[in-house]
Symmetry: C2
Subunit: 424 residues, 2 copies
């Protein structure tokens, strides 16, 4: 028998306890043992959580409980769960966590503390999709060329709505909040931070790279409007919030999370609504893609319990972050965001007067940026203005950023220019 | 160090040897050991295979070689590889195989013989896609509701061409053969047998069910023509060769491999050309989908080496077929094909005369079959004839089969009616 304590019995924690009970037949047949939740830790033990589980508000009832083999950490946050997981490991307990923020900051420290004790974290990335396992074990023969993921359901719900209906960001965000797909403070999701945390976890497994959220390019979807959607449709693109890890020359890795135009023929472009999808290109296998629900109590609990079953079957069978030792000759390091090279789409609202286009193309030319496609639209509200929508050929991020600054300085430029990267 | 012997150094075997050498940096970092191919067994040791590997035509140079830890079986066939794998296991060697036919017949026998020795077979289903691992480990908390897979690249290439271009089966098959996507004798692929073998492997992992290819419904794509494609497009379907495992009431499981009309909005409908895709619905996680290359030397070798890395890391961490013990109260058994219930599409070529439609609908009515949508087209070649294309509401397979027999007996029916199942 494997006995588990659950720290944090919210939606996911309650699902874990319920599934362990309701699916005990198949779980026991698959791992050869009973997996039993013996204690749940909550702040308010008097609130009904719809779950048949002994509750306590004293965390030591799990951490110092000799009976408990595995601690499931579902608290949220970073510093507090770090202390809790550390103590659990020091007390000889295996850990399963769904906490992406914790891992985005402390995954290597936890790996060191754990030693041979298992830490499962399948649920921390893309909910019910077994992407950690696929990357760490299924594709382990490959040098990973790139990972491109749609890993935030809130962003994807909003962008899908904007693509399919003629609605603006703020209105869809309101709807998403009403449906429970977005938090009251949606910044963490729509600002790209949640997806970036997940990316850092995958990047460690793919490349063994150490990086923190502060080190990488993170943007959200707040600036996207219906003009961008119009351009995307016109040129055969879909707009998605993507996380990207890409191998570059000289043992560098690009890591970034931002909105992107992707060709609508790609499989990833078909990942709609709150669903998640991750495309991984390995040097030998080519492209594989993983699709499924990225959130939700039962879907996330499915991943938590998969980790429990692995532990019940064999303990830790793979190294936590996929590497048993460093790469010979040193590992990968992070490419500076300035050095990223890709194609760009830009939206610039200008006074519709003679010479304005010349000024803009001349600024772009100064930074070595050449235009690939171009659309000019009269402004809906202001008849003196026009909106210029264009895409560029490949150029460096630093050049686009500098060109944007110069464009913003033009007196004829009526709004801060908006840029979206293009990933073909 | 893990030393491996490769029995059968064709396309996949050569890829395995080459990748083990060329990607040794990442492989060694990931599993903490060198994995070294020390011997390859071939029929003709004088033929150059583009691989730096000692070759022998004496299989005992691997099977009786005390130095070798893992035997990779890439021979093809059923009886001969069974003897070889059995001997390898008896000699205490772990086994990795890509041989779906071997497993379709002997997976339970091999599991018994292996005991605690690992048998890896990720490469046997859907090539480079880590679907075995996803199903056996990633989704292990779930009762599996259904598996629907596009698992034969040859069929998918042909059907994709037929959907996108106005071409007939025979012409595309010729092209597929020229491109190397179809064998000289294509029956195994286009007849559905290859996909059915893979289905049986997945069904064992999902349901613990014992079944052989002879026990299940297997059909190919040979009868599909451009009229069927026309109907599919008209009603928003795509035609795919699907393998289906579905949980039914009373601990029964449906297993079948055949062409099917699926709504073109489904993710599976977007799996085109030679690619494979598998949708799995778990009772808790909902739908997850896995996409990637189902064949090819490097993609298949990627899966073979993933198994080797698992073995190097930890030995066998999961039970071979996913179950450590039988389900309490007995496991799943196979639903008789007659009892399958689904919707159907039918094509009937008839003499275009008064009363023929009445005769046909009356026969269908006799078997309790009701029509959902209907299209009548004049025959292109024969102006006395018409082609009737229609879909039915849900009914039992036995009723459709019997109705087809009755329709075929009608003097006004000019060709054997063709039926394709509809999977919504």
């Amino acid at each position: 028998m494997l006995k588990v304590g659950i720290i944090g019995v919210g939606t996911v924690g309650a699902s874990v306890a319920n599934i362990l009970k309701e699916n005990s037949d198949i779980i026991e047949a698959r791992c050869g043992k009973k997996i039993v939740p013996v204690m749940g830790i909550v702040r308010d033990i008097y609130r009904d959580r719809g779950v048949d589980l002994t509750l306590s508000d004293n965390i030591d009832d799990v951490l110092e409980n000799d009976e408990i083999d595995v601690v499931i950490e579902l608290m949220g946050g970073v510093d507090e769960p770090f202390k809790v997981v550390k103590k659990a490991l020091e007390n000889g307990k295996a850990v399963v966590t769904a906490n992406k923020a914790l891992l985005a900051y402390h995954r290597y420290a936890l790996q060191d503390i754990a030693g041979s004790l298992p830490i499962g974290f399948e649920a921390s990335v893309a909910g019910g999709i077994p992407i950690i396992k696929a990357l760490r074990e299924g594709l382990s023969a490959n040098h990973i060329e790139s990972i491109k993921g749609i890993m935030n359901g809130t962003c994807n719900f909003i962008l899908t709505k904007m693509m399919n209906e003629d609605v603006e960001f703020k209105d869809v965000l309101d709807e998403a909040q009403k449906l429970g797909y977005a938090e009251a403070d949606p910044t963490f999701d729509v600002g790209g931070f949640d997806a970036a945390h997940k990316l850092l976890i995958l990047a460690s497994i793919a490349y063994g790279i150490h990086a923190n959220p502060e080190d990488i390019l993170i943007e959200g979807i707040e600036n996207i409007n219906s003009e961008d959607i119009f351009f995307a449709k016109e040129f055969g693109y879909n707009i998605k919030h993507l996380t990207i890890a890409k191998k570059c020359p000289n043992k560098k890795v690009e890591l970034r999370a931002h909105a992107a135009l992707i060709p609508s023929s790609q499989m990833l472009a078909k990942v709609d609504d709150v669903m998640n999808g991750i495309s991984v290109i390995g040097d030998r296998v080519g492209e594989t893609m993983y699709y499924g629900p990225g959130a939700g109590g039962d879907a996330t609990a499915s991943a938590v319990i998969a980790d429990l079953i692995d532990i019940a079957r064999a303990g830790q069978s793979s190294p936590m972050l996929g590497f048993k030792r460093d790469l010979e000759g040193g590992g990968f390091t992070l490419l500076s965001s300035d050095e990223i090279e890709t194609k760009y789409y830009m939206r610039v609202k200008v006074l519709d007067e003679i010479g304005v286009l010349t000024k803009i193309t001349s600024i772009l030319g100064d930074f070595g940026i050449s235009i690939n496609s171009f659309l000019q639209k009269p402004d809906k509200k202001d008849q003196n203005c026009a909106t210029l929508l264009f895409s560029t050929h490949k150029c460096k991020e630093i050049n686009i950023q500098n060109a944007m600054k110069e464009l913003a300085k033009l007196s004829t430029c009526k709004e801060k220019p908006v840029m979206i990267r293009i990933e073909d």
